[in-house]
C-alpha cells in the first residue's frame, strides 16, 4: 500500500497528479474493510441490516450498536469505523432536532441527507481534519414516501432502491439486484436481507450476530428494531437456505 500514493496522500488538501484525494480514498477503504451493511427500499418502507462480528465472548449480546434512531421517521445504519459513524449519526440527530424546532415539522429525507453530506464533505477540505471513515445508510419515511440514502466518506449522498457497503458488498449487491423490491413488503424484505447477510458472510470468520431495523406502514412509519420473532424466523430461513445450497454443491 505504501507505494500507491506516495507523497500525495499525506493530507486531505493535496491532489494526486491523476486528480485523486488519497485521504478520502483511504477513508473509503476503512468502510470497504468493515462488516457488511445493507439497505432495501420496498414498496411500503425501508429495511436496514448489519452484520456484526462478535469480537469477544465477553461482550454482552446486542452491544456495539450500529443502527441509530435519528428521529421517529429516520433511522441510520453505519459501516466503517464505529465511533466515526456515531459522530455522523449524532450530527444527523442534531440537524433533525433543530429543523423540527425551527420549522415545526419532521425534516424531509432529502434535506437531512444533503445536510449530513455537506457536513461529512467538510472534513475533506482541511488538512487539520481527517475524513470520517464511515458510510451512513439512512432509512426515512416522510410525507414524500419511503427512501434510502447513503452518505459516504467523501460527502456524496445518493438515493438507492437497494445498496450494500463493507466487505461483502459486491456479493450482496449482486443478490439485491435479483430482488423485485418495488413489489416486496418490508416484512418480506427482512427475510431477504437476513438471507443475503448470511450468504455473503465470510465462512471462516468469527461468530456474528445481526442487527436489523425497519420503517414501514406496519410500524406506523416509525423506525424500529424488527421484532424478535421475525428476526428469529428470518435467521431460520436463512440458515435453511444455506444448507440447501450446500447440499446442491
Amino acid at each position: 500500500m505504501s507505494g500507491i500514493g506516495t507523497g500525495y496522500d499525506l493530507s486531505a488538501t493535496t491532489y494526486s497528479p491523476d486528480g485523486k484525494i488519497f485521504q478520502t480514498e483511504y477513508a473509503q477503504k476503512a468502510v470497504d474493510n468493515s462488516s457488511t451493511v445493507l439497505g432495501l427500499r420496498c414498496k411500503d418502507g425501508v429495511v436496514l441490516a448489519c452484520e456484526k462480528l462478535v469480537l469477544s465472548k465477553l461482550l454482552v449480546e446486542g452491544s456495539n450498536r450500529r443502527i441509530h434512531n435519528i428521529d421517529r421517521h429516520v433511522g441510520v445504519a453505519v459501516a466503517g469505523l464505529a465511533p466515526d459513524g456515531r459522530m455522523v449519526a449524532n450530527r444527523a440527530w442534531d440537524e433533525a432536532a433543530s429543523y423540527k424546532r425551527v420549522y415545526g415539522e419532521p425534516i424531509p429525507g432529502h434535506v437531512l441527507c444533503e445536510r449530513v453530506g455537506s457536513y461529512v464533505h467538510m472534513f475533506n477540505l482541511y488538512w487539520s481534519l481527517r475524513p470520517y471513515g464511515s458510510t451512513m445508510l439512512m432509512a426515512v419515511y416522510d410525507k414524500n414516501g419511503p427512501a434510502l440514502y447513503a452518505v459516504d466518506p467523501s460527502g456524496s449522498s445518493l438515493r438507492y432502491f437497494g445498496t450494500a457497503v463493507g466487505k461483502g458488498r459486491q456479493a450482496a449487491k449482486n443478490e439485491i439486484e435479483k430482488l423485485k423490491l418495488s413489489e416486496m413488503t418490508c416484512r418480506e424484505a427482512v427475510l431477504e436481507a437476513v438471507k443475503i447477510l448470511h450468504k455473503v458472510h465470510d465462512e471462516d470468520g468469527k461468530k456474528f450476530e445481526l442487527e436489523v431495523s425497519w420503517i414501514c406502514d406496519e410500524t406506523n412509519k416509525q423506525h424500529q428494531r424488527v421484532p424478535a420473532e421475525l428476526l428469529a424466523e428470518a435467521e431460520r430461513q436463512a440458515k435453511a437456505a444455506l444448507e440447501d445450497s450446500d447440499m446442491d454443491d
Binding site: 425551527v102 420549522y103 415545526g104 415539522e105 424531509p108 432529502h110 434535506v111 444533503e114 410525507k143
Partner: protein, 242 residues
Amino acid sequence: MDVSRGASHSEAAPSTGTTIVACTYKGGVVFGADGRVSIGNYIMNRASNKIAPLSEYIFLCRSGSAPDTQIISDNVRHYLHQASAESGEEPSVLMAANLVRLLNYNNKDHLVGAMLVVGWDKHAGGQVYGVPISGTLAKEKWAIDGSGSSYIWGYCDSEFKEDMTREEAENWVKEALALAMTRDASSGGTIRMYTLDGAGVHHTYIPGDQVPQFVGDLPFPTGNPGGAVLGSAAREGGMVIG
C-alpha cells in the same frame, strides 16, 4: 388591543387596530382584513393592505403593532424563501406558522403582533393557524383577531359551518368583517379578501362604498364632495359655513 385608544395623534404610534378573519372551507381557505390604520383618532390610511404574502400560497394577516408585524412578515418571507431553496419544494403552511410563532415567542418582551397564518400546501390542503401575542400556535378551522374581532365572536360561532362551499365561506368572511367594521372604531374603510383553492390565488377588493351595510348604519356619502348641501351656496359665491 388598541394601544392608541384615547391618545391624541401626536402621542400615539400607528396601530393596525384591525379586524382579520380566516376560515377553511371544502377545498381551501378564505381570509380577509379591513383597511384602517389609525393614530389616535386620525385615520392615517383608510385602504391599507394588512395581508402580506409569505410565499406564493401562504399569507400573513396582520394585527397589533404595524411596524412589528411588518418586520415579522419580512423576516419570515426571507426564511421561507431560504428553506424552499434548500428543499427544492414549496414551503408548507405549518413551517410558515411556526416561524412566525418562534419570532413572537422568543421576542415576547418586545413584539406586539397578533397574526393569522393562512395558506394552502399540497400535503395538507388549506389551513388556518392563529399566532397571537406571546407565541402560541393554534391550528384552527377558523380564526379571527384584531380589535374588531371582539364584536363578531357571536356571529362567527353561530354562522360557521364545516365544509362550506366557496361562496358560503366568502360571504361568511365578508359579513364578519363588515359587522366588525361597523362597530369597531379602529376598523373600517375597505375590505381585502383572498381565496386559495389549490388552483391559484383569487383576490377580491371591496371599496368602502360596497362594504355590506346594516340597519342603522349611516349611508355612504354619494355625489360630488360639497354637493347637494353646500353646492348652491358655493356656486353663488356666498360664504359656506359647514
